[in-house]
Symmetry: C2
Subunit: 126 residues, 2 copies
């Protein structure tokens, strides 16, 4: 068993799969929405994640099609020729996903601790 | 809002990330352990998942290194020249992961329903 002081913290990544048509929402899209909200720009949000502009745009378009209302809207004008921001639906989806992560972390803490206790000490092999 | 009768069921996929050394456990490894338990063979478990023998072996080796005890053990002899089965630790990890999935589904049901209600009806576009 690992020393609790040096035991690594376990993180959970959640991916939601909506039905059978390939629609998914997971950590990458959540982080991208968060970045757009913080940076006011799809390009800047993508850069922050080391993601190409094309990739960031593709994810935004996927998200915008997947829900009843777009999650991200482009805003025109300004020195930089327009930015982007989250719609109300975008903010709701992001908040629900983060709330889900929190609930999962709480609800799963016992099982995660059980698995974590069985981890080998890989730090000694480094 | 989609008709509740035709609304697709949302599934959650969970990936656990243990610390910073790249150790992960997710749906692919869980299904592989389940397949090994059912088939008694790494090759057969991999085939069932459409996974190459090499890939299945790589995942087994990763899992065996990641935990204090191996999760999968090879058994010798027999007509087919030996098979594989889960160790007690392997069975424990698989059971904990499945229990975690169940708890997460229960704990997250409200948030998932909230997101699901905002899905567009993509079936009409098919």
């Amino acid at each position: 068993m690992l020393d609790p002081m040096t035991r690594p913290q376990t993180r959970i990544r959640l991916r939601l799969i909506f039905g059978e048509d390939g629609r998914m929402f997971g950590p990458g899209k959540a982080d991208l929405l968060e970045g757009i909200s913080a940076e006011g720009s799809i390009a800047a949000a993508g850069r922050r994640m080391g993601m190409s502009y094309r990739r960031a745009w593709t994810l935004v378009e996927e998200m915008n099609r997947a829900f009843l209302e777009p999650l991200v809207t482009r805003t025109r004008g300004g020195v930089q020729g327009g930015g982007a921001s989250l719609t109300e639906t975008g903010a709701t989806i992001l908040a629900s996903y983060r709330a889900l992560e929190d609930r999962v972390g709480e609800a799963g803490a016992d099982e995660i601790a059980r698995m974590q206790e069985l981890l080998s000490d890989m730090s000694s092999g480094k």
